[in-house]
Amino acid sequence: MGFLDRERCIAPPGYDRWRVPPAALAIHLSIGQAYAFSVFNLPLSHAIGITTEAPGDWKLSTIGWVFSTAIVFLGLSAFTFGRWLEDAGPRKAMFASATCFATGFFVAALGVQLHSIWLVYLGYGVIGGIGLGLGYISPVSTLIKWFPDRPGMATGLAIMGFGGGAMIGSPLAVALMDHFKSATSVGVVPTFVAMGAIYFVFMMFGVFTVRLPAPGSAPAPAAAVRSVRPPAPDVHVNRAISTKQFWLLWVVLCFNVTAGIGVLGQASPMIQEMFTGRITPAAAAGFVGLLSLANMAGRFLWSSTSDVIGRRLTYAIFFALGALLYSLVPATGRAGSVVLFVAAYAVIMTMYGGGFATIPAYLRDLFGVMHVGAIHGRLLTAWSVAGVAGPALVNYIREFEIARGVPKAGAYSVTMYIMAGLLVIGFIANWLVTPVDARFRFEPDPAGAAARMAA
């Protein structure tokens, strides 16, 4: 397995750096399938009854924990293995990610075959979730090293793949289940096995084509590098998490994600309830698809824009414009304007995706390149928290409003105003971000560090 070593993926002289983003995209387009796991919910809930729910079939709420477990383990593995990844190199990390992700599918298939939900949790949730975390952070520092002149665009390109992964994963799963289903099977078991194999092969493309720039080489024209904000001096990951900048960015990411993820999960019922009788379930599915496209496009557009206008200003726009749009959404519902409602949410979703995609470059600006992947991994715990808090907030407030007699069409207004409030807090946190103090800089020579501290 020596070909996985960091030294073996150093690029030869003259290597074209534009061959590296497809390697990162292969990983992110694959693991982004996680966002499409809901297509399995209904078939899994009929695994015994086939056409209808039978005694012993899993409830939807039970199946819902598969995705939640995977997201929790995404955050945990990114937190735990981020530092290892920096030493092991991207190829080994991508290989480990592909192995875990595919094994997760195979174990989950066994779980469905034996009708053991715990095996499904272990497979797709735990093992697959570890693959998600490893895969999510593995190409980040590699791309930042290859594109010192455009770090936002480069990482945005990869993270855009994660947003787009569901667009491939969802129709692929539906097509495979249609192919494999029979009078005695919903077709989930062979679909899981096939998807595990397909994604493993696709991710191997990334494993074999990823390259690191040779130490001391200049992957980008010097003039282009000089024209952008230089990375900060390196900060060790263990020291980075003791800075106020890390925790301010944690709040920035957490609140930006909370505001978006809750609405994303409720988009279909929300538009149908706000425009009762005008929006069919098929049109609502189209709305969800449109939001996914906006989410994906925003990842690339905003992160690229941040290379020009700076990260702080980019996030300031996210929070200011996001708060304004959330405040206006209830009015578009009352005015009965579907077009304005859809347009407002599409813009909000571009900023939700942009928040994910721009954060690695923000970390690079503050903490340098050395441990940016590991620091990014630790920051992703904000995503895990937001993934639980966002949907819970939206669901709880909606139920509370309906319980106190508010019509369904108006039950989302308070939620929107609370989301706007969260974004205002995010705006303040982002505005408080300042350069990291020199005392946190990484000092390879401990004596030098001690002298600096003494001085």
Partner: protein, 42 residues
């Protein structure tokens, strides 16, 4: 520099092939979503 130096035919082929490997499935996925999103404005 890499971007300004001339690419050989083999390098160009590898570059284009790499991007096609990821862009073809991505384009298929996007087309599926666009078809679904069209229902919103019918």
């Amino acid at each position: 520099m890499r971007e300004t130096s001339r690419r050989s035919g083999a390098d160009t082929f590898k570059l284009v092939a790499s991007w096609l490997v990821v862009l073809i499935p991505a384009a298929w996925g996007v087309s599926q979503v666009v078809a679904k999103a069209a229902a919103l404005f019918k």
